[in-house]
């Protein structure tokens, strides 16, 4: 058996972590670009190779047509569900006869689980390069408020990536595990998790018993379409509107300029988390530079609606846990968006308590996933996680109403039995419609599955079929049925409403292996070479301009040497050497970059490298 890991499959970034055997502490693995964060971006290059992470993110600016980000928003959803999403995100969907989403990248189409699987496979590669061993099992985290279909899609992604998914763990619960291990906390803990695309609030009770520590989730709530992306959308729409008014330039919200603007605005948002004001300078296609001063206050006013939307679920979760805000002992902040000062202030004001932020909010979920992976790997442990199902499970009854059979916030695994009989003589089947949600009518809840129970030919009311609905420890529904009179088991084929079948998953697994055939070193070499080429081009372009005259002879010689070194390195196949030479050239051209920058107006670009021009 290979290694086991914990993976945070995020909307914006994904991470992979494991337990260090020496320190017994969870650690995130650093990828080939020097960061533990793998941008959740996938691109298909014109040669048909899949590119994932940092290099794919760069392609958003040059090959938007072949690149996708925030695919998590599409997981477990149908074409009809995401029409609103399409207005805000550059998803290019292929027309599909069914409700199953198919995303187009260049000349190929993929389902959201397949795209997520590319990200998982990339992380798996990071870990395998790190361990020098295969990785075949994983705990993957999902938003606590993910429904059955979204969970199933996440699990499918794991399978397609060649991973045995031992458990799906809710993100806030994973964060609580990481914090518990870190601080030995006790009492009632609220975990506020605002990520790139999803929001969760979970209320837990941490209990010490003779056998060990129990993390019992009391209640959870959230919104699977609320996050930093929404803040970015607001900022982008605001600035786009201003540009339209002042300069009468209207660019497509999905094009490369829009991506460039989005990137600049995200950098501005990050700056405003550190200081009180920042200036946006954005070069427009007409040669002008759009300039606007932002204060933290003005941005706060703009984004407050998004932050306020998180408080509804917070209140509902507390009500379900029958707790008042002052009864919460500790508050933990998770997710990159909680770095926003307005978010911190809002949470702090509500609970009247300074939240914990000791652990890196980007890494904490992956660290917790690694803790849970370790627990499962050892079989028996001194830590136990008792999680809940976020949404009520129901079945459709007469007149389109829903009968709730497993209430939300039930500890999982949880089950319910229902007895069915026939209404007319010799009826051959009974139709059952399973739903998830809190609303009273079936049409307002999420349809999970429809299936037909086969009944033996008999007078009406005579057959008695007991159906058992079971939500497993992953929060995924299983259905079983038996004939009460004969005790005979019925097999129930549950066709998920928008899911993909087992057979399709197997085909996707094969396809994804074909895509992944290029070995790790080879892929690294290709990526380094691409990067090197763009740096070399930028360097020669910069050297040809008049500002280059400001360089000393020694500086010029250093650059020339580094150019030769890098050019030679990329002719070979050693990706580590290429990386080293890239760094050398970046260092040698630092002064040149500064000179270029000073002549340009753009002070926002401080700390940038030559190739960013």
């Amino acid at each position: 058996m290979g290694r086991i890991v914990g993976i945070d499959l995020g909307t914006t970034n994904s991470l992979i972590a494991y337990i260090d055997p020496q320190t017994k502490k969870p650690v995130c693995i650093t990828g080939p670009y020097g960061s533990t964060l793998c941008p959740s971006v996938v691109s298909l290059d014109p040669d048909g190779n899949i590119v994932v992470g940092e290099p794919a993110r760069r392609r958003l600016l040059t090959q938007a047509e072949r690149t996708i980000y925030s695919v998590k928003r599409l997981m477990g959803r149908g074409v009809k569900d995401i029409q609103d999403e399409l207005k805000l995100f550059p998803f290019r969907l292929d027309p599909s006869p069914s409700n199953v989403i198919r995303v187009r990248l260049g000349d190929k189409v993929f389902t959201p689980p397949e795209i997520s699987a590319f990200i998982l496979r990339e992380l798996k590669n990071w870990a395998e390069a790190h361990f020098g061993e295969t990785v075949d099992r994983a705990v993957i985290t999902v938003p606590a408020y993910f429904n059955d279909a979204q969970r199933q899609a996440s699990k499918d992604a794991g399978k397609i990536a060649g991973l045995d998914v031992l458990r799906l763990v809710n993100e806030p619960t994973a964060a609580a595990l990481a914090y518990g291990l870190h601080e030995k906390q006790r009492g009632k803990v609220a975990v506020y998790d605002l990520g790139g695309g999803t929001f969760d609030i979970s209320v837990l009770k941490l209990i010490s018993t003779e056998d060990g520590d129990i993390y019992q989730v009391l209640a959870t709530n959230g919104d699977t379409h609320l996050g930093g992306d929404d803040i970015d959308n607001l900022l982008q729409a605001f600035v786009h509107e201003r540009i339209l008014q002042e300069d009468e330039i209207d660019f497509s919200p999905h094009g490369e300029i829009a991506q460039e603007l989005r990137k600049t605005l995200i950098a501005l948002k990050h700056q405003l988390s550190e200081k009180e004001s920042a200036t946006l300078r954005f070069p427009l296609p007409n040669g002008k530079i759009f300039t606007q001063e932002f204060t933290r206050g003005s941005v706060d006013a703009l984004i407050r609606p998004v932050v306020d939307r998180t408080m509804g679920p917070v209140k509902l979760a507390l009500a379900d846990a029958t707790l008042k805000p002052e009864e919460i002992d500790e508050v933990v902040l998770v997710g990159g968006t909680t770095r926003t000062p307005l978010v911190r202030m809002t949470v702090q004001d509500f609970f009247r308590r300074a939240p914990h932020t000791e652990l890196n909010p980007d890494e904490v979920v992956a660290l917790g996933a690694a803790v849970q992976a370790n627990i499962l790997d050892r079989g028996v442990s001194n830590m136990l996680l008792l999680d809940v199902t976020p949404l009520s499970l129901g079945i459709e009854t007469y007149g389109g109403a829903v009968a709730k059979i497993i209430p939300r916030n039930s500890t999982i695994p949880a089950s319910a039995q229902e007895l069915y009989t026939t209404g007319v003589d010799h009826q051959t089947g009974i139709d059952i419609h399973v739903l998830q949600g809190e609303r009273e009518l079936a049409k307002d809840c999420r349809s999970l599955a429809r299936f037909t129970l086969k009944t033996p030919p008999a007078p009406a009311g005579l057959p008695r079929i007991e159906v058992k609905f079971l939500i497993d420890a992953n929060g995924i529904l299983q259905v079983g049925a038996k004939d009460v009179r004969t005790g005979e088991q019925h097999s129930v084929e549950v066709q998920p409403s928008y899911g993909i079948s087992e057979r399709e998953i197997e085909r996707m697994l094969e396809d994804s292996i074909n895509f992944a055939e290029q070995d790790f070193a080879e892929r690294q070499a290709i990526e380094a070479r691409t990067e090197a080429e763009s740096i070399l081009t930028a360097t020669s372009k910069a050297l040809g301009q008049e500002q280059a005259a400001a360089l000393s002879g020694e500086e010029r010689a250093k650059i020339d040497l580094a150019v030769v070194g890098l050019t030679e390195a990329i002719a070979g196949s050693d990706y580590k050497l290429m990386r080293r030479k890239i760094d050398e050239l970046n260092q040698a051209t630092q002064h040149l970059a500064e000179v270029m920058m000073n002549s340009a107006v753009n002070t926002v670009l401080q700390g940038k490298r030559l190739e960013d021009f």
């Binding site: 458990r167 442990s381 008792l386 695994p413 949880a414 058992k468 420890a473 079983g480």
Partner: protein
């Protein structure tokens, strides 16, 4: 998924408890946590498939049992169900006789409120009326709960004293009646609250 043909244990016996209605919550919680350590699927990830299935079945039964028994009213309902004495009955939609007048009045006020809402009329006065009616019915609900508690105590005493099955049956019929009345009142209060938030 499959499950065995044998009937699952009743929720009381999951915890090794007699079918008594007054439970000590800290004790129930302690037993729940102890059993969770033993049964949770996390402990069986590397076990055989049949062991894994058994763990899933047992731990879901444990969680179902804890969910139901923790709730004092749900517990009574469940007891009557396994004793075969739960009758929701055709009287479900009917108001208890002693409340007929008050329910009639409430429904009238609700109708007026709906009318005022659709015609955009003033319903501040109605609101006050409904508010006091809601309070009144909420008090009656609390009273019912107290009565239910009292019968529950008698049930436990009858079990302790090894009371006759007739005596026990009489208590269950009484509890069933109280439950039906309770669900009627709860619907009523919930309806008022709903009209409320919409107004």
């Amino acid at each position: 998924m499959s499950f065995s043909a044998t009937q699952p244990p009743d929720y009381f016996s999951v915890f090794g408890l007699p079918r008594k209605l007054r439970l000590e919550m800290p004790l129930l919680e302690q037993k729940f946590l102890q059993l969770s350590w033993k049964l949770h699927p996390d402990n069986f990830v590397n076990a055989s498939e049949s062991e894994r299935e058994l763990s899933l079945k047992r731990s879901s039964e444990l969680n179902d049992a804890y969910r139901v028994l923790r709730d004092p009213v749900g517990r009574v309902e469940y007891l009557l169900e396994i004793e075969g004495e739960r009758r929701e009955g055709e009287k479900k939609q009917q108001a208890p006789p002693e409340l007929l007048e008050e329910v009639f009045e409430l429904n009238e006020s609700l109708d007026e409120l709906r009318e005022a809402k659709s015609s955009g009329g003033d319903f501040r006065e109605l609101k006050n009326k409904l508010q006091s009616a809601e309070k009144n019915f909420q008090e009656k609900l609390d009273e019912l709960d107290t009565q239910l508690q009292a019968v529950a105590r008698q049930w436990d005493a009858a079990l302790d004293a090894n009371g006759t099955s007739d005596a026990r049956k009489a208590l269950m019929v009484r509890m069933n009646e109280l439950l039906n009345r309770r669900s009627y009142l709860r619907n009523l209060v919930a309806n008022v609250a709903k009209e409320w938030t919409e107004a």
